[in-house]
Structure formats: C-alpha cells, structure tokens
C-alpha cells in the first residue's frame, strides 16, 4: 500500500513538474513576439552564449576530430578500409559528434551560468524588483537567453564541425600519411548537405533545451546558496539528459526521412 502511495506521490510531483515546464515554455513563446524587446539584453546574451562559447567548443571539436581520425584508422585497418577516415570523420562530426558534443559543452557552460545568474537574482529579490519596476522577468531575463542560445547553437555547431574536420585532417596528413589533396577530396565527395543540415537542426533544439533548462531551474531555485547550487546542478543535468534524448529522437526522424 505504501509503495503505491509513494508511486502516486512521485507521479503527482512529476506531472506537476511537467505542467510547470509547459507553462514556462508557453510564457516564453507568448513573450517572444510581443513588445517591448530588450535589444541590449539580446545582444549581450548572444555575446555571452555564442561568442564566449567558441574557444571551448573549438578546442573540444579539434581534439575530438583528431581522436576520431585515429580511432577510425585503427578500426578500418582491420579490414583494409583506412581510406574511409576522411569520410567517416566528416560525416561523424557533422551528423553526430559535432552537435552532441557541442550541445553538451555549451550545456555545461551556459545552462549552469544562466541558472546561477537567475537563481541568484531570485534569492536576492532582484527578480521581484524587476516586477515592481514594471518589467516582466520572463521577457527581460529568459527571452533574450532562449533566443540567443537557440540561434547561436547551430552556428556554433557549424563552426565546431569545421574545426573537428580540420582536426581529423591535421591528424590524417601528419600522423596517418594521407596526402592533403586526397583527404580533402574524399571529405568533399562524401559529405552531403543533409549531413550538415541535420546537425544544424539538432543545434536549434539543443540550444532551446539548454536555455530552457537554465532559465527554468534559475526561476524555480529555492532560497539560499544551497538552492542556487541545486538549481545550477539540475540545469546542467536536465540539459545534458534532454540533449541526449532529443538527439536520439531527432536521429530517428532524420534516419526515417
């Protein structure tokens, strides 16, 4: 009986959370297209989420591309298929590793900082102060961040894909004895527009998930430093899990189409 009670309680809490998240998403969308628009805040969010994520994303992509080239070479050599390295690196980066790793890296960097910033503002009554100054906190704090993350992530992923392919290229020509022209020709001939576009579409979803997790957890953080810490942790965990789940669903969709 107690097990059933606990199950019911957990289901109730879960459904309440789903309801709150849905309500939060609706409030973001309803504020997205209505004035006023905080241009300065949007630009600041683009700078902090997009531009400032470039170094860490670039380094991650570079090393991943290099490692991927080595692994594919090692695996491919078992059945004399070393020549597939450029194609697999390019397709792997564009379709899977670029979007997922990019999403996870940006989630760790951005979801945490959004949750910590908004959570701190909430516990220090700055969010209440915004309301008393006739400013909608969702419109002022959440909308710019959601907009910036959703639009920045595909661009970041495109850059990450290119750097990842560059990493594979550098390893390919320096360590695996590929000629530069062969490597580039093989990459160009095998990579299709759909490989790139599927990764970019994933980026849009991942960007939304990251900013949504950060904003939701920030706005719903409980009081005190511990509350903000929990909100930050929850934002990163939720963003990472949702990115991986969304990645599978989107991959299924692209696979079927």
């Amino acid at each position: 009986m107690r097990i059933l009670q606990n199950l019911g309680k957990s289901a109730n809490i879960f459904l309440q959370k789903i309801g709150r998240v849905t309500k939060f998403i609706i409030s973001i969308f309803s504020n997205l297209f209505t004035p006023p628009t905080y241009g300065g805040e949007i630009l600041k969010a683009f700078f902090q989420i997009g531009w400032m994520s470039l170094p860490v994303l670039g380094l991650t992509a570079l090393f991943t591309g290099g490692a991927l080239a080595l692994q594919i070479y090692a695996g491919g050599s078992r059945f004399n298929a070393e020549q597939v390295v450029p194609a697999i690196v390019a397709i792997g980066m564009a379709r899977e590793l670029g979007p997922v790793l990019g999403g996870l890296i940006v989630a760790a960097r951005v979801a945490s900082s959004i949750a910590a910033e908004i959570g701190t503002m909430k516990v220090t009554e700055q969010v209440d102060a915004l309301i008393t100054l006739s400013t909608d906190p969702i419109k002022y704090l959440a909308v710019p961040r959601v907009l910036a993350a959703t639009l920045s992530l595909p661009v970041l992923i495109a850059i990450g894909d290119s750097i990842g392919i560059l990493g594979g290229y550098l390893v390919g020509i320096n360590r695996l004895d590929f000629s530069s022209s062969t490597y580039l020709a093989s990459t160009a001939s095998m990579l299709q527009i759909s490989d790139i576009s599927s990764g970019l579409v994933k980026g849009v979803f991942f960007g939304f998930i990251i900013s949504l997790s950060g904003c939701y957890c920030g706005f719903h953080s409980s009081n005190g430093a511990e509350g903000v810490g929990k909100a930050t942790k929850s934002a990163v965990v939720a963003a990472c899990v949702c990115i991986l789940a969304a990645n599978y669903i989107l991959t299924e969709v692209f696979f079927n189409s």
């Binding site: 220090t124 700055q126 100054l133």
Partner: protein
C-alpha cells in the same frame, strides 16, 4: 488608501496569514512590526501583487491587487527591498532609472542619467557614485541607491521592507531621517515593515503589530511604548515570556 480585508495565506499547509484586516490612510506613514516569521514580508508581497492570497482581498485605491495583474498598480508604487535588490550587472544610474530605460515610460539616456544624479543627491550621495556598480558600494550606500530607485517615479505609495536591517546605528538614523523627509516632501503613503522599534518611532505615524498571521494591535506610534497590550508589551520590551513564542 490601502485596504487589506481578511487576508489568509498558507504555505505547505501552514498558515502564515490568518485573517489580516488593515486600513492604511492616504498620505499616512504606517509601520507593520512583528517577530521574524510573523508574516510581514508575505503580507508585503501580497500588497505588491507578487503572490496572491488564498482568501481575502487587497486593494490599492480602486484597484484590487489580489485579483488583477500586478502591473496595474506597480506604476504608482515604489519599493525598497530588504537586501536592496540592486541589479549587479548595471551601474548605479541605470539601477535608479531602470524604469525609464527598460520600462514603459522611456527616457533618453541623457535625461535618465540626469534624473538618476538628482535622486542620488536627494539621498545624500554625490554624482560620482552614478557610474559605480553595486558591488563597489557599502551596505549603507546600497540602501540609499535602492531608496533613490524606489522614489524615482515619484510614486504615491512607497513600501519599505526592513529598511535599516544590517546597518550601523548612525546609518540607521540617516536612512530613517531620509525616509521621513522623502515621504513628507513627496506626500506619499508609506508602509514600512520592520522590527526595529526606534525606526518605527522615527518614521511612522501609525503602527500595527502582526503576530502569528493576525494584527494583534493597531495604534499611534507615540503610544506604542505605553501600550498595555500583552503582545506589544512583550515585543517592545523584548521579553521571552508572553503570548509571542520565539520561533
């Protein structure tokens, strides 16, 4: 006029406000005193429209705050938060004129900055503070900046939430004097939440004691110390024994 009518509010099944009735006359300065956890800040948040009461009504003028969206009354209200609640990412002048930079009543940057400097002078700070960030200011300066922000739109009603908490006695007096002066010159209605008796005597005409979610005593601030009401007697004299239980 602020009318609070039979307001109840509970959190997680625990009653915080248990039928609060109160009337704040226009142009008066009223203080609500009470122990920590008595429900003062919750009542203030209900007045601001930040949270809704479970039962009861709050109206400011002709507007029912408890039923309408908070935006309808907030343009006429100034609020000084307990911890100042200044925006860390903005310089002092933008904090003060936030309403005019990001709100509905837009002003040019030049005009907004001029108004900010005027308000800073009104609270006894010089123009050099305008370009500093909240993290560069002392607790007293932050309170003054928050006070400047609260009065920037010349509100008809000003709420003060624990305006002197955490300040030294000299700064406490300075802030109290500023509040008194500002409220009088602006002819505003002021409602202060505090547990500092000396502040009450300095800034308020009327006092209400809120305890365990109910108003236990109301009267003139001058009569506070002479009151025979057991709640007031215990609170004013800091007695551990009496009807108020320390939580």
């Amino acid at each position: 006029m602020i009318k609070i009518n039979n307001v109840h509010k509970a959190f997680s099944g625990q009653n915080v406000l248990d039928g609060v009735d109160m009337l704040v006359q226009e142009g008066s300065s009223t203080a609500i005193i009470g122990t920590s956890g008595a429900g003062k800040s919750v009542l203030l948040k209900i007045l601001l429209g930040l949270i809704r009461p479970d039962i009861g009504e709050v109206s400011i003028g002709n507007i029912k705050v408890s039923k309408d969206k908070p935006g309808r009354t907030l343009s006429e209200i100034g609020m000084l938060f307990q911890g100042s609640a200044l925006f860390d990412s903005l310089p002092v002048w933008q904090n003060i004129c936030f309403k005019f930079l990001k709100g509905r009543e837009k002003l040019s940057i030049q005009d907004a900055k001029e108004i900010a400097i005027q308000k800073l002078e009104k609270v006894g700070l010089n123009h050099e503070v305008a370009n500093k960030y909240p993290s560069d200011l002392s607790g007293g300066m932050k309170k003054r900046v928050a006070l400047a922000r609260a009065i920037v739109g010349n509100p008809k009603i000003i709420f003060f939430d624990e305006p002197t908490t955490g300040l030294d006695p000299i700064m406490t007096n300075t802030i109290n004097n500023l509040i008194r002066e500002i409220v009088e010159t602006m002819e505003a209605t002021a409602l202060t939440i505090t547990h500092d008796i000396s502040s009450v005597e300095q800034i308020a005409d009327n006092v209400a004691l809120l305890e365990s979610g109910r108003i236990r005593w109301e009267g003139k601030s001058k009569k506070l110390r002479d009151s025979k009401n057991p709640y007031v007697y215990q609170f004013v004299n800091g007695k551990t024994k009496g009807p108020i239980t320390a939580i």
